[in-house]
Amino acid sequence: MQRSFIAKNPSVLIFLTCLALFTLLVTVLSEGFGIGTISTSFIKTLGKTLCLCLIAVAMDLIWGFAGILSLGHFAFFGLGGYMIGMWLMYERTRLIVVESLSQADIPPTSSEVVDAIGNQIFGVVGSNEFPLIWAFSDSLFLQLVLVVLVPGLLALVFGWLAFRSRVTGVYLSILTQAMTLALALYLFQNDSGLRGNNGLSGLQNLPAVTASQDAVSLWFFWASALALGLGYLLAAWIVSGKFGSVIRGVRDNEARVRFLGYSVETYKLVIFTLTACIAAIAGALYYPQAGIINPAEVAPIASIYLAVWVAIGGRGRLYGAVIGAAFVSLLSTWFTGGQAPDISLGFYTVKWVDWWLVLLGLSFVAVTLFAPKGMGGLVDLWSQHKNPNRHGADLGPDDGALREQEASQ
């Protein structure tokens, strides 16, 4: 009588199958391992898109299901990227430094090596000392732990303060915007210890890996697909159970949930922190593919885009968020990459690089007004077409029998 999780949620299986097929198809068409139809740079774009889909899943969890419109999740995404970027940059610089110092007559001491690395990394901001936050940057394992730990702790502290004071609705959205703006402004400073507005660069080069970018890009593509699959599975499992019931209850009527005896603040804090961790993992996979991270990545506008993707895709359903993020971000790449043909109106030429944001804004307004279910709502149209809801009870013994209303017409 207790059906399995997959049987109760067929959309999860469909999604995972589609993702697996897509991954396989891209691999076969890739330059690295396949016939070379898809360029390596486009593989990277696709891999990055999968990471954006993963953070969209997190956004859907917090906004579509728990009803908390967080406009700060790109802060966690960026922090995750910075954490992995620190190790990538340290380790690669160390290898180069050790290589060049080994040419010298006297073997370098370890402190000389560290100084040289510091000089290489921080010379650009006029320093050569390692700041305290780089203390663990020589250990891949510890930096991987920090990928989850730092954004998770930030979310925990921020969420605890905000939810405990019962800040809700638009006030909370503004607060999250302030958080991500404050983080961006802090990181822009040269003495923040993360190279100011230069950010961390050269992240696409994995230390001690001799394989070509053709292969590395595919590794990251696979890792991103795996992370998206696992993240989707986790999110679907969370929302399908009683926890999902409670957070949807919080979205629809917070006070009622409280009077049922659930501590609404705790639930909000848990889902906020969890989605921050998912966002951080997505960021840690995204920036090695992008190759560079700088403070502009955590600017408030990035988190607003995230909300737009989820709204256009259809919030409150996980595949909607994925579709929205993939569709809008790929379309955005197409328009802003100068690939979309300009439209000449005679007196004025519409250049999509400039006009894309206007188009995006208009479609956001249109979706909000006319199709609140977003693109995911199209799936409803299709499934209703298959199983029309004819309103009314069965008259006869068979499913196909006329319904009450139809019979009386």
Binding site: K242, F243, V246, L260, G261, Y262
Partner: protein
């Protein structure tokens, strides 16, 4: 009869308006009580104070045989201690099925981790089935509760309250907007519930209160005006002046 809830000398002021003025109230373990009063008499504020939504300026609210003060507890803790509340408007989770609504209300650990790991056992589902039977929604278990009629939503909410297994039930205008048959069913549900627990019903409708056939407390301007059987209070001259005479 031992006292379950004792409210004594409670006052609360909103922007200079004294909504509750030195109110005292007590109810026993298994008792049905109707609270009546004109608009603005403080009925809803009284419930807000007991359930922790509003903190009074002064006074005490004492709960249970251990005499715990409810004033230091938040809404969730008070609900866990055994006070259930039904709102005036039916507030069920419309996006979720009747079964999900009832499962959420079922008396189980409320911590987030326990809830995350929760899988409904056969016994839980059976319990939900029994409750659904009692509130006449057995055939609607898989339907979204937003599709139910107004009366059915009211019952679902009462069912959710019963699933919580509270020791004290606060019910705000349960019969509002119901058909006569639905009212009768609601009366039965409340009378049945009051056999094993304390029930406080806030109601405007005198006919409904008469059918409950219980002790009545009349509130006026945030204080108790009269208390006793319905016939006793309706013959009270003060009550007639402020309420019934209008």
């Amino acid at each position: 009869m031992s006292t379950l809830l004792e409210v004594s000398g409670v006052s609360v002021t909103f922007d200079g308006f004294r909504a509750i003025n030195n109110l005292s109230f007590r109810i026993g373990e298994a008792e049905l009580r109707a609270v009546i009063g004109p608009n603005g008499a403080g009925k809803t504020t009284f419930m807000d104070i007991v359930t922790g939504k509003t903190k009074p300026d002064e006074g005490r609210v004492i709960w249970g045989e251990k005499s715990i003060s409810l004033l230091k507890m938040n809404e969730a803790k008070i609900a866990q201690a055994g006070i259930g509340r039904k709102f005036q408007k039916p507030t069920v989770f419309e996006d979720q099925t009747v079964q999900e609504n009832l499962l959420m209300a079922l008396k189980k650990p409320r911590g987030w981790f326990a809830v995350l790991a929760y899988k409904p056992s056969a016994a839980d589902l059976e319990k939900v089935g029994e409750l659904a039977q009692e509130i006449g929604l057995l055939n609607e278990l898989k339907r979204k509760s937003g599709e139910l009629s107004h009366g059915q939503k009211q019952w679902l909410e009462i069912g959710m309250l019963l699933a919580q297994e509270p020791r004290l039930l606060l019910v705000d205008e349960p019969a509002a907007g119901m058909t006569p048959q639905e009212r009768e069913h609601t009366t039965d549900l409340l009378l049945e519930a009051a056999k094993t627990r304390a029930v406080v019903v806030v109601e405007h409708d005198m006919e409904f209160v008469r059918r409950l056939n219980c002790k009545v407390t009349v509130l006026h301007e945030g204080a108790v005006l009269a208390e006793g059987s319905l016939d006793h209070v309706t013959s009270n001259q003060e009550v007639i002046d402020v309420y019934l005479g209008r």
